[in-house]
Symmetry: C2
Subunit: 262 residues, 2 copies
DNA sequence: TGTCAACTATTGTCTTACAATTGAGGCGCC
DNA sequence: GGCGCCTCAATTGTAAGACAATAGTTGACA
């Protein structure tokens, strides 16, 4: 099928150099266009090298690129090789989350912006969740609420439970596309939420709002759920603001102490 | 700094095999933890190989993995090497779009589900866009509306303009995190929208709704904008439904014709 | 002083070889 | 004859060395 020198010619002509990139692109295209079906085994590295007219290390580098994108997985041994991998929604969600986390950390997004986006996105799921939640989603939300009431919970665990609660809410919308978009976004913001110290008072307020949100979803009161979510958003922003102010104060205090000491 | 045999030891102990994966993870962690700053040059492949106690091809495969995730970029020649790359929001958006497109195509998401998610997500941006749009966003939306009124536009171009309109709307929300989340989702659904044949009648209705949406945003009437968006969503779903029914009919017709012919 | 050419450092690719892993088929044993 | 073990072969993973391509640098020359 593939002309032996296609990749070479394409790479040389397109002047993009990097034979391995060209080969990776060709294989990727073949997968995306459906010429290679899920689970199908690619030719061995040696065969690919012969087909493309390049050496085995070059093919390997191309395969590594694809493996890094979870498009294939490789197995050693007899009957081993590279296999086309179907991206499950969960895989996509994990990759999206990693990407979002990366974006948030590398671009130093401030808490306010991230928080705004997070709750705005979640609001997109609320009407659908109110309309067609299943009992298992409500149960999961309820379970997380119960966990959040345990005063012995560490801040990290409380935050994780918070995320789990909201992911359950998003999944209650029953739309897989919405799920992986929103869940990845919410989970990606966990590191930012983790910087908060959750006092018992804050926990009580948050958990109470979670309970109200759960109740509103349960009785399919969309407006009420949106209202509670909005209150939760504003309270979270308030906490973030307080944390920032507190930190600024501490820095100022330390600076003043240093100045006095010196 | 890095112990020479860290990667080897880690790989052997963790039993995950694949030295190149272990090395890639170590470098990735170094980047994410900020030990390697943006723009900084990594040691040359030979040095890395010596440091990690592995061969150069192994290091290269690790670097390919990172390059595939856009974490580094490499240059040849003197003063060349691998450089830590800052992921811009646009980079993330492009990657997210690619990922979403992949997810939609590989999981064969139906038009209805994708459409529902798309408009639900977009609704998340509308209140913010209404509250703090800039004149440039309104102008861009207006420009796309004007383009959509050209009857000579191809279906593909109309669809592209439609996407551009909604991306402008999302960007009007003025939240970069929201922007790359939503814009990638909207753009990823373009292939699905492209399967529609936009008759003049359909175009007139869609463009009219776009105009109403633009007007509502301009006067900062959030409720009205949401209402228009909802109408747009329902109309798009309607079109999708019609297309599906039409296709089913044609298939049935062809089947009948074939039966008659045979 | 300006320009050009050789040099050098670095990545990209090729070649060959060996190690590790895993499935399969053959062999012996029960 | 059936079952289990064992060797074998196919395949990927890793290694080492060499050459090609590229681009910045430096030195020589006009």
């Amino acid at each position: 099928m593939d002309r032996p020198t296609d990749a070479r010619a394409a790479a040389r002509e397109s002047r993009c150099g990097d034979l391995s990139v060209a080969i990776a692109d060709q294989i990727r295209t073949a997968i995306l266009e459906g010429r290679l079906i899920e689970g199908e085994r690619l030719p061995s590295e040696a065969e690919l090298a012969a087909n493309f007219g390049v050496s085995r290390p070059t093919v390997r580098e191309a395969l590594k690129r694809l493996a890094a994108q979870n498009l294939i997985r490789t197995r050693r041994g007899a009957a081993g090789g590279a296999f086309v991998r179907k991206l499950s929604f969960d895989d996509v969600r994990a990759q999206m989350q990693a990407l979002t986390t990366l974006a948030l950390s590398m671009n130093a997004v401030d808490f306010e912006t991230a928080c705004e986006a997070r709750f705005a996105l979640e609001a997109a799921a609320v009407p659908l969740a109110a309309a067609r939640h299943g009992s298992e989603h409500l149960a999961r939300m309820q379970a997380e609420i119960a966990r959040q009431e345990d005063p012995a919970l560490s801040d990290q665990a409380f935050c994780a439970s918070d995320v789990a609660f909201h992911v359950a809410l998003v999944e209650a919308a029953g739309n897989p596309v919405l799920t992986f978009q929103l869940a990845s976004a919410i989970e990606a913001m966990q590191p930012l939420m983790n910087m908060i110290t959750y006092t018992q008072r804050k926990r009580a307020i948050i958990t109470s709002l979670h309970r109200k949100l759960h109740a509103a979803i349960a009785i399919e009161d969309r407006e009420r759920a949106l209202d509670v979510l909005d209150r939760l958003a504003r309270y979270t922003l308030e906490i973030g603001e307080a944390i920032r102010a507190d930190r600024a104060n501490r820095h100022a205090g330390r600076g003043a102490a240093a100045a006095e000491g010196g």
